[in-house]
């Protein structure tokens, strides 16, 4: 990774490659937000000093190979079952930190029951939920989160909600479960939101470590490839269009989570 450059004496290292990430270059398309969020998760693991205690659960979706990029123990779950598998893992490893990393097809379509029930049971798990409004891996079909009118390979004339259903608001739903301690919707689409998202991710991990309940960070993201947009344009478009149907905000935060002390 490192290049032989002379760093002047008066310079502090302020951003470096996270230890919790391997040096493998990802298979994600250029500009894909998955990479940004991976980095943030890696940083949080570093900051909390839990690399050796962390177990990741990869979804089926573009992040299926996430295990290659994190330097932690990992499993690859069946499509939609990440939270069931994570439940099995956490229950027999109560002192470890277990997180799932899932796309919208995985978490909000096929995995709906597993998601809702893991939250409702208050599993001590952290879920990073990448909402890019599309099925990236399989070639850009409509997701449950696809926006009205959006053209995908399985809604060729644009999503007609009256027939194909409406964009599902998972954070709003999860906030209704008794076991959820922290449910927030963020975006990773510009600098302030990226900074904020990372804080949310950290809080979601701390929530688990403190044993406060289930935590889910929904991250609005892009899929430049299947949206057929240039990476930067896709960020702009997402900021405008996605937030309209997926309002940002913290939908549930128990007092205990609010009171969490930040170990920065």
């Amino acid at each position: 990774m490192s290049v032989a450059v002379n760093i002047p004496e008066n310079m502090d290292l302020i951003y470096k490659y996270p230890d919790a990430l391997t040096e493998v270059s990802t298979h994600y398309c250029p500009g894909c937000v998955h990479g940004i969020v991976h980095r943030m998760v890696g940083e949080v693991i570093d900051e909390l000093g839990i690399r050796g205690q962390t177990i990741g659960v990869a979804p089926v979706g573009c992040a299926v190979l996430a295990y290659k990029y994190f330097d932690v123990d990992f499993v690859e779950a069946a499509h939609g079952r990440a939270l069931a598998m994570a439940t099995g893992i956490k229950r027999v490893n109560p002192d470890k930190v277990v997180f799932t990393y899932q796309g919208d097809g995985d978490l909000a379509a096929i995995g709906t029951a597993e998601t809702v029930h893991a939250a409702n049971r208050g599993e001590f798990l952290t879920t990073i939920f990448i909402n890019n409004a599309i099925y990236g891996m399989t070639g850009g079909q409509m997701a449950p989160t696809t926006l009205p009118g959006m053209v995908t390979t399985s809604s060729p004339t644009g999503r007609d909600c009256a027939v194909a259903g409406y964009p599902i608001q998972m954070s709003e739903i999860l906030a209704q479960t008794a076991g959820a301690a922290y449910v927030t919707r963020e975006m990773a689409l510009d600098m302030p939101s990226i900074v904020k998202t990372k804080k949310a991710i950290k809080r979601a991990f701390q929530c688990q470590i403190a044993g406060l309940g289930f935590a889910c960070v929904e991250v609005l993201a892009t899929c430049p490839t299947n949206w057929n947009q240039d990476p930067w344009a896709s960020l702009e478009w997402a900021k405008e269009s996605m937030t309209e149907h997926f309002p940002l905000g913290t939908f549930k935060m128990t007092d205990a989570v609010k009171a969490l002390k930040w170990r920065d």
Binding site: H27, Y28, C29, P30, G139, T225
Partner: protein, 179 residues
């Protein structure tokens, strides 16, 4: 008897799959049996794209082959992968604009041409696939150049229509260089 098993391979955007389809359409137009099958899967994200096209007077058994009788390689990784696999007596078409190594095979016919440069000269580097296809048609005699041009006309998408004439020119130019 005519029978060629061709692999066309390149980067994602280079049009290897479309060139293969054109070849298949042309084979059909000349009343031959054809199969076209893409590589699909994880390679899709970024990576290379290739397809296998079989054109034959006879009914086609295996649509997937390991040793092609022809290979069109539009970039370096494709060259590295397929050059060794071409069957003795076969044809290899190399886009030397992007392939800076040379074939050491002396048991096959190697046609090296600056397809991307030619395409760029004709207005769009994305037409390198057609330059190479022209060369292939010419070198193998599998299908007539006119057939390919006609099929191009029939199957060019609406959006691409404006590129019809330059595309035909690319085919022509490729054929010339393979003569």
């Amino acid at each position: 008897m005519k029978h060629e098993e061709t692999i066309i391979s390149g980067f994602g955007g280079q049009g290897a799959l479309f060139a293969g389809q054109l070849l298949a359409y042309s084979g059909m137009a000349e009343a031959m049996h054809v199969t076209w099958i893409p590589s699909y899967g994880p390679e899709m994200r970024g990576g290379t794209a290739n397809c296998t096209v079989i054109v034959s007077d006879e009914e086609i058994g295996a649509p997937i082959i390991r040793y092609p009788t022809c290979a069109v390689v539009l970039n370096l990784p494709s060259m590295q992968k397929y050059e060794p696999l071409v069957k003795p007596g076969g044809v290899l078409i190399v886009n030397e604009s992007l392939v800076d190594i040379q074939s050491a095979r002396d048991d096959i016919r190697v046609i090296t041409l600056p397809a991307s440069d030619i395409a760029t000269a004709l207005g769009n580097p994305r037409m390198a696939n057609l330059v190479a296809l022209g060369a292939l048609a010419q070198a193998t005699g599998l299908v007539a150049l006119e057939t390919v041009a006609a099929q191009l006309e029939a199957h060019l998408s609406e959006r691409q229509r404006k590129w019809l004439e330059p595309n035909k020119a690319a085919l022509q130019k490729g054929a010339e260089l393979a003569r």
